[in-house]
């Protein structure tokens, strides 16, 4: 057995979002859903500032706004608000998300969701409060809430269910590829529509395509007797090859995708040449950090630190095997990371959207980690996009005149910053 990688755990004083943000992609993924957050002005302000930038159409999410008078009520009354939602929209399912304030005043969510549910319109409780959940983590809890709505498949139904929300383009790629390899597909969890959730039973093979859906995978293994494949996640030629080979194995097929992998590497050689020897620092929170680190190292880059909110050692076991010698940090302290970044001067920092521009201001090339959560980087067709995400910033910054990084160009933008004396006269 290879030596277990050391994981350093710090105090979590870092920049991140809470679990509510996953609403941003899940409401678009599950097209007949509505996300109702029981929360405060803070939750509403969070959602409009993090998601509002992207959304011009009618959002299928809203906050049941708790005001001062609502704090003393033992159980909030949501029926009228749900009726109001149903006047505007016709959802097939309502996800009721918790947030910090109702957690603190101990709202009993399970019972609340049950009392609001109707046979034709289930209301499903999703714990998502920032007291316990970060950013992409709550997708896992949304998927868990959907499990009872996946029909039970008979034991002889031996097909794969891809686990984790991806857009249609990626989904189609996975369907085409499975078809090529002769692997029968039962569907995706989540499906695009609430009533189309895939059947899952003891014959089902679960293939997780997102690295943050551990609890759902586990529950499907325990409750439905499904087999969960343990592979690298399908990012990059190395991960994609391992993913499909392991998936084929679960169907009794021994396939060798070595040539396919080699060809994929060959196609991105221009990028990997650039990445060779580059020093990359992960200070982000998308829960994709481990597979991305593994891919970057396969590209020839050196990963100085890979920090992530938390690491599920069992679910990410295959990835961890590949990360020997990498500094892995859970719950990073951002202040310490800043000092390390200043000292190490990495060629590229992948950071949270909250801290990227300030990092660029400190003279490093930094990139929004959040973008990885929204780009089509999975599977064979995602390889170019994935590698390009790492090289694009490096290339672009190279093109820029170094004079542009003189502090004179940021003078006066930020009132709290120290007054800057320009170096250029």
């Amino acid at each position: 057995m290879p030596p277990k990688p050391q994981i350093i755990r710090e105090n979590g004083l870092n920049h991140s979002f809470c679990g509510l943000v996953s609403v941003g992609w899940l409401y678009q993924k599950i097209k007949d859903s509505f996300f109702l957050i029981l929360g405060t002005h803070t939750c509403a302000h969070l959602l409009q500032n993090t998601l509002g930038v992207m959304i011009f159409a009618r959002p299928r999410f809203a906050v049941a706004l708790m005001e001062e008078g609502d704090l003393s009520a033992s159980q909030p009354h949501l029926q009228e608000l749900i009726d109001e939602v149903c006047q505007e929209y016709t959802p097939s399912v309502i996800f009721l998300l918790s947030s910090c304030t109702p957690e603190v005043i101990k709202v009993e969510f399970e019972g609340l969701a049950r009392s609001l549910s109707r046979p034709d319109l289930p209301v499903l409780f999703v714990p998502a409060s920032g007291l316990d959940y970060t950013f992409s983590q709550s997708e896992d809890t949304v998927l868990q809430a959907l499990i009872p709505f996946c029909p039970v498949a008979p034991p002889e139904d031996k097909r794969v269910v891809f686990l984790g929300s991806v857009n249609e383009v990626i989904a189609d790629d996975f369907l085409t590829e499975a078809d090529r390899l002769g692997i029968p597909v039962a569907g995706f969890l989540p499906a695009d529509h609430f009533h189309d959730m895939p059947p899952i039973g003891p014959g089902t093979v679960i293939a997780p395509i997102q690295p943050f859906v551990a609890k759902t995978a586990n529950q499907l293994r325990n409750e439905r007797g499904a087999t969960v494949i343990s592979s690298l996640f399908p990012f990059g030629p190395d991960g994609t090859r391992d993913f499909w080979e392991k998936l084929a194995q679960a169907f009794g097929k021994e396939i060798d995708l070595a040539e396919r992998e080699a060809a994929a590497w060959e196609r991105i050689r221009e990028h990997t040449d650039l990445l060779k020897g580059k020093r990359v620092f992960f200070a982000t929170d998308i829960l994709m950090e481990l597979p991305l680190t593994r891919f970057l190292r396969a590209c020839g880059a050196e990963v100085l630190e890979c920090s992530t909110p938390y690491i599920n050692r069992r679910f990410l076991a295959r990835e961890l095997e590949k990360l020997e010698g990498v500094k892995l940090v859970e719950q990073a302290n951002f202040d310490r990371q800043l000092r390390d970044i200043a000292e190490l001067q990495p060629d590229l920092v992948i950071s949270n959207i909250l801290s990227t521009n300030p990092l660029v201001g400190k003279g490093v090339v930094a990139k929004w980690g959040t973008e990885f959560a929204f780009m089509t980087i999975h599977g064979w067709t995602g390889v170019n996009t994935l590698v390009g995400m790492f090289t694009r910033s490096i290339k672009r910054h190279r093109q820029l005149d170094p004079l542009g990084s003189d502090p004179v160009w940021t003078t006066g933008i930020m009132p709290s910053a120290p007054k800057v004396i320009p170096l250029v006269s």
């Binding site: 105090n11 979590g12 004083l13 920049h15 979002f17 809470c18 002005h41 803070t42 939750c43 509403a44 302000h45 500032n49 993090t50 509002g52 930038v53 011009f56 809203a62 906050v63 049941a64 706004l65 708790m66 001062e68 609502d70 704090l71 949501l78 608000l81 109001e84 939602v85 910090c100 304030t101 603190v104 005043i105 920032g130 007291l131 316990d132 970060t134 383009v169 189609d172 790629d173 085409t176 590829e177 090529r180 959207i353 909250l354 801290s355 521009n357 300030p358 660029v360 201001g361 067709t381 390889v383 170019n384 390009g388 940021t410 933008i413 930020m414 009132p415 709290s416 910053a417 007054k419």
Partner: protein, 537 residues
């Protein structure tokens, strides 16, 4: 309890962060769950902050609550060590305030040398503007010291703050006018002020505090405590700017007499206020008399926003551009009386609400030619196919442009007038488009198999419909000529449709190029996906 889709005002902690990110040497600490940290993103994204705002979330998580641990003292020590601020302001969040912890005691336990204030803004009673304004007043009361006034005439500019609406630009406009008058700026606060700057606020001859939302309470305190004259009018529009300049000159001359300074300020020729010092300081008075603006006659405007901008811009549109105002409103309930009084004679029935659906319904009833509102009204206007310009926060990144776009002063009058005329003119072009069809916006696209189809919605379907029955794909046998016809089967077309429309044409061309190079004359789903592997995305 109510259903909220969008909020006009930010939270109390956002208001505090805006204030603290305006000051130098002060740090805010939020005793809050991780999620409250999102406000960093607003500074990083909208203001493109090149450094970290001095705002730290001292994380409280579920385990801390269960175990009764509190990380605040550690956080305070870390902040003192890393940033060495002169003052730390500690605030609970909407969730931690319910825990009723004694943060004063907790802060004391940290044993740090730095001064600490616990500012318990109740987020259920106070939102962005009140929280920022009240905290600013607290700080001004705490630090401003009696001092001799400056030798030369000077003013404090009170009110501009981080993420204030066009605040950085307004500040430039005000500085330019003061410069022209020969008046020096003693302190700008909160924008860029240190605690020392707050200490020497009373050295100014006059305070100008143009924003209702921030700074006027502190300026009133300075007037009561130190006798500094206060000019709180807002110079939005040409005539108000002229009045503002005259009032300011009068106050400065009064102060000169009071303090026995032998100075008399007079208004220079107005051309001195222009960019080149020799032209009209604003184009608005002439512009609004031109025939161009005549075509605007009768175009109605609906106004909605905070207090300062709704009042200022409503008067500007009515008095200086001659536009009928069909309605106005504000989301700042605590300013409603002031706004109503200010807009007496302009608007009969002021709408006071912080529910955007209510505003949307009013706009739908009125269907004005121009909506002047916030980002929410921009959503509404888009939905209703109306023209909208943003005159008040909350804003979108589209409102945070690089170029100089003040709302105050002569320069600001030109900016607002431009915004009105381009917003509404585009509207007229839009009507022409409605009248005469697509006006070239949706020109037909030639698909390479020789069929002409109108893009984007019908193109694929038309191309498929017109294509001859599909035979089995010919075996690939070397590359095809660059102009060889290539066809798509139905599956491949279906996949192509899922690619966003704005890159679809490019994707189509790339896939066809790939197919030709590899000798395929029929594109199947399989070939499409293989091609995408090769060309990415």
């Amino acid at each position: 309890m109510r259903l909220a889709y969008w909020m006009y005002e930010g939270t109390a902690h956002y208001g505090i962060a805006r204030l603290i990110n305006s000051l130098r040497g002060v740090h805010a600490v939020f005793h809050a769950p991780q999620g409250d940290d999102y406000i960093h993103g607003i500074f990083a994204m909208l203001e493109r902050a090149p450094d970290f705002p001095p705002v730290t979330t001292s994380v409280v998580d579920g385990r801390d609550l269960a175990q009764g641990t509190i990380r605040l003292p550690d956080t305070l020590r870390q902040i003192e060590a890393s940033y060495k601020p002169e003052l730390i302001v500690v605030t609970p969040s909407c969730s931690t305030i319910l825990l009723q912890e004694n943060l004063e005691v907790t802060a004391m336990v940290s044993g740090i040398d730095c001064e600490v204030i616990v500012y318990e803004a109740n987020p259920y009673r106070m939102q962005e503007h009140l929280a920022a304004d009240n905290l600013f007043t607290v700080l001004v009361k705490r630090y401003a010291e009696a001092t001799l006034i400056t030798e030369r005439p000077s003013v404090n500019i009170i009110g501009p703050a981080s993420l204030g609406f066009h605040a950085r630009h307004d500040l430039v406009s005000l500085r330019r006018m003061l410069n022209t008058l020969g008046v020096q700026v003693n302190v700008v606060a909160p924008w860029g002020a240190s605690l020392d700057d707050l200490r020497r606020l009373p050295a100014a001859w006059v305070n100008v505090a143009p924003y209702r939302e921030l700074g006027q309470k502190a300026a009133v305190h300075l007037e009561e405590r130190f006798g500094t004259l206060l000019l709180r009018d807002t110079p939005i529009g040409v005539q108000p700017t002229l009045r503002w300049l005259n009032q300011l000159i009068e106050m400065l001359n009064t102060a000169a007499v009071q303090h026995d300074k032998n100075v008399e300020i007079t208004l220079p020729p107005l051309t001195a206020f222009s960019l080149d010092g020799m032209s009209a300081p604003s184009m608005v008075p002439w512009f609004s008399r031109t025939a161009d603006m005549d075509s605007f006659s009768g175009k109605t405007a609906f106004m909605f926003g905070d207090a300062t901008h709704v009042v200022g811009v409503t008067k500007f549109l009515a008095d200086e551009l001659g536009m009928p105002i069909c309605g106005a409103g504000t989301y700042l309930r605590h300013e409603a009386d002031w706004v109503r009084e200010q807009l007496d004679g302009y608007v009969d029935d002021l709408l006071v609400t912080d529910e955007f659906q209510t505003v949307a319904r009013r706009i739908e009833e009125l269907r004005p030619e121009v909506v002047c509102g916030t980002q929410m009204e921009r959503h509404t206007a888009r939905k209703l196919d109306l023209n909208c310009m943003v005159i008040a926060p909350p804003t979108h990144i589209e409102n945070h442009l690089l170029s100089y776009r003040p709302f105050l002063g002569f320069d600001g009058a030109d900016v607002i007038a431009d915004e009105v005329s381009t917003t509404a003119t585009l509207g007229m072009e839009k009507h022409l488009i409605d009248l005469f069809g697509d006006a070239g916006l949706e020109a037909p696209v030639h698909s390479t198999n020789g069929h002409t189809a109108s893009a984007p919605t019908n193109g694929v379907a038309a191309a498929v419909a017109d294509a001859p029955p599909v035979a089995a794909p010919p075996a690939s046998s070397g590359p095809l000529a660059a102009d060889a016809p290539v066809q798509w089967d139905a599956d491949a077309e279906r996949l192509l449709k899922k690619i966003p429309f704005f890159v679809r044409a490019k994707a189509r061309a790339n896939v066809e190029k790939y197919a030709r190079e590899h000798g395929h004359s029929l594109i199947t789903a399989d070939i499409l996906n293989t091609a995408r592997e090769h060309i990415g995305g």
